[in-house]
């Protein structure tokens, strides 16, 4: 039976068997190893890795999910070994969980429209004598939210802070034509049940870093950044922190209240409001990127940069950071799917 060896970013090795014809991701789970993954359907790219040795079958996948297939790039949910494989994964061994994440039932306790494009969703875990009622996560992580018995799951960043009351808060951007956000917008009611699974994700604060911090968020990815800022406020962090906040349009109300609340608790937080004009192409996100470039220009020290957004936006951020020689390991990103 083919043997799969994963080589992690911290030079550890994890080995398990994968029967021919089975996907690597599933075989890992059968061996009690839970690798970072979301859709398990060849679409989101979360299980991206690199085969360095061995032959395999691959597909079907969405074009956008994988750009380096010719050089051995694979999605582990769509990779079937034809013999022993050695695969390099882009995360440290500690990111491979050895306990499955159990989906939990939760109840919608708040469902609010914010402006034209957003929904605030608050969930409360159903108490469980065996699993407890702790809402444990690191600021920046996300939960998979779904409707029980339906193959419909979405990943949403947690906007609140870890707590012992089982409370989860999400700030959800309505996707035009999106199945889940349409359901939330038109059909969901307070009291309805949703399933949550997590916490997941590696977009978390580097608490040890002595450098100033720059958060870039707005209509995209504001939840995770808000959670991080709330955490810094809770711990009365004193490092220089800037938030470049891009609204979809002028006089957008989304996020205004939460930002004011964080700024009151974290007085040295500097907020640079701007407008996204989000669209792909040479002028996409231009204003936000200009503010970012200006900030880097003025900063005596390169900050740690935290940004969550669509792929094109992250590329823009990396390009600006690159021209200012911000080291790659100071840029923390989470790509929205």
């Amino acid at each position: 039976m083919p043997e799969v060896t994963l080589e992690t970013r911290d030079n550890s090795q994890v080995v398990f068997s994968c029967p021919e014809g089975q996907f690597v991701l599933g075989a890992a789970e059968a061996a009690g190893l839970y690798l970072p993954a979301i859709c398990r359907d060849g679409v989101c790219g979360a299980c991206h890795a690199h085969v360095s040795k061995g032959r395999y079958n691959h597909g079907p996948i969405a074009q956008s999910a994988l750009t380096d297939a010719p050089s051995g790039g694979v999605l582990l949910c769509r990779c079937r070994p034809e013999g022993d494989l050695v695969i390099r994964v882009p995360y440290p061994k500690e990111d491979i969980r050895t306990q499955p994440l159990v989906p939990r039932e939760s109840t919608i306790v708040e469902l609010t429209r914010v402006g034209a494009g957003y929904i605030t969703l608050k969930l409360a875990l159903t108490p469980d004598p065996e699993l407890g009622i702790a809402a444990e996560f690191l600021p920046g992580q996300y939960m998979e939210v779904g409707i029980r018995d339906l193959p419909l799951r979405r990943a949403y960043s947690l906007a609140n802070l870890p707590n012992w009351d089982g409370q989860f808060e999400f700030l959800i951007r309505k996707k035009p034509g999106g199945v889940f956000t349409t359901w939330l917008d038109k059909y969901a009611r307070v009291g309805d049940k949703l399933q949550v699974r997590g916490p997941l994700g590696r977009f978390v604060l580097d608490e040890i870093s002595p450098r100033p911090r720059c958060f870039i968020a707005g209509g995209f990815g504001f939840g995770s950044v808000l959670s991080m800022l709330r955490h810094l406020a809770q711990f009365q962090d004193t490092q220089s922190t800037t938030l470049i906040f891009g609204a979809d349009q002028q006089h957008e109300q989304f996020g205004v209240g939460q930002i004011a609340e964080v700024k009151a608790a974290l007085p040295m937080l500097r907020v640079i409001p701007t407008v996204w004009y989000p669209r792909a192409g040479p002028n996409g996100f231009a204003r936000v990127l200009q503010e970012f470039a200006a900030l880097l220009q003025q900063s005596p020290e390169h900050p740690d940069v935290y940004v969550c957004g669509p792929q094109e936006f992250l590329e823009g951020v990396r390009a600006v950071a690159g021209t200012h020689q911000v080291p790659a390991n100071q840029i923390f990103t989470e790509q929205l799917l």
Partner: protein, 554 residues
Amino acid sequence: MFCYQCEQTMRTESGASCTVKGVCGKDEATADLQDVLVYQLKGIAQYRAGLAEFGMTDGEADSFVLGAIFSTLTNVNFNRARFVGLIAEAAQVRDRLRDRYTEACRGAGKAPATFSGPTLFQPAKDLHRLLEQASAIGVRAGVEAVGEDVIGLRALLLYGLKGVAAYAHHAEVLGHTRSEIANAVAHTLDFLASDPVDLEQMLQEALALGHANYVAMEALDAANTGTFGAPSPTAVRTTPVAGKAILVSGHDLRDLHALLEATNGSGINVYTHGELLPAHGYPKLRAFKHLVGNYGGAWQKQQDEFSRFPGAILMTSNCLLEPQPLYRNRIFTCGPAGWPGVHHIAGRDFKAVIQAARALPGFRTTEPEHTITGGFGREAVLGVAGQVIDAVKSGALKHFFLVGGCDGAAPGRNYFTEFAEGVPSDTMVLTLGCGKYRFNTHDFGTVAGLPRLLDIGQCNDTYSALVIAQALAGAFGCGVNDLPLSLIISWFEQKAVAVLLTLLALGVRNIRLGPTLPAFLTPALLDILVQRFGIAPITTAEADIKAALSSKAA
């Protein structure tokens, strides 16, 4: 950054020290800030010496110094913000002592003495410049002028001092202070502030510090037994009981007691971890029925064990490792311990810990009971002294091995397992400190009706071990070095360094030290210790057991 204060310091061909990031996880900025704080404490000590000339003392400053030093021990505090705060506070303490000293001089018509650098140090207000200031005042300051041996011996003094301060702090929180200890701490800092270069003088100071540590351990013993009763042999459960749970780790018995009181009647079970295992030996602690057992092994396994512990965790001192995502929300620090972004409990208000424990699953089932036995404090052992002495005289009990100290992750530490489990069956193993976890689940059986493994307690209970040894020596009419007793010490951090200085100060010879020798002891310094005290590194368990038994043939 330059730090080589612990056993797991980075060793390469070019030398042994952590210069980019501590193997322990301490980052460069935190290490540098610790150097600044230590420098400031020297300045405080210098003014304290000035005040002492007028017969004046400053208890607040003495207490601050102990806590500040404790925060710089290995695996205690990784929170840069905490050190920024301590540095600001240290400057205020120094200013107050300076003002008192100046006032005293004025009152006596005396001109104030001028002191050296540390007394004049003004910490910068921003982190960057503070870190720039650090570069000139670390452990290696002046090495080009004075050489490695001098630097190494100054380091031995500083690191031994850290151990003394930790023990003294634990005693102080239980209300036991000794002016002798505060004087010795201040004296050592004042001495270091003079940038000493005389090796012989420094060696004598190190031995004096060893004596001071004996007093510190005695004070802590008095504090622990005075508050919680004399330890007695106890079987401690090591498997879980169904129900909500809190795990308490570190060394501090007062914090454990406070948590037990806060959770009394709550239905939450409390487990000890690591160096708090000996807590079960104290009558007034085990009187709490909800102190149900010990969980896990020594400190280096905590990332795995804490991840799997289904409740809240309280870390009262070291050793703390980087909290993993799986338990980062539910671990709390208190006392000198700290990690950035981890909730710190002040003032023994454990409400948040209790709230967490209630929300977390707890253990679902009660596992079959397994136990290990501890609580062999000096009273308990000397209570059977007659039996022990008879067994030695009859030849049934041929030798005592004290195998203990700190545990750690280094692969070479399985030596201590092999050693303890490999000694002949007509010998006894005494242990203390978390080094015991290398062999404390092994069934040692009995010899002459006595248990073959005696767990004396925490590392500071070396005091108990010394009292026992001295009593036995008295009974046999010989010196401690003439007893059929071998010391096989595992060290990791600075409390062990202080204990080692105590043993040397009391003239205990032929100690075996492992798994490696301190990086700050240069070959020349090691030579001195070997010549004068017969100290030796460990080799193999088999060879060392043989050597121990043959050299001490009765």
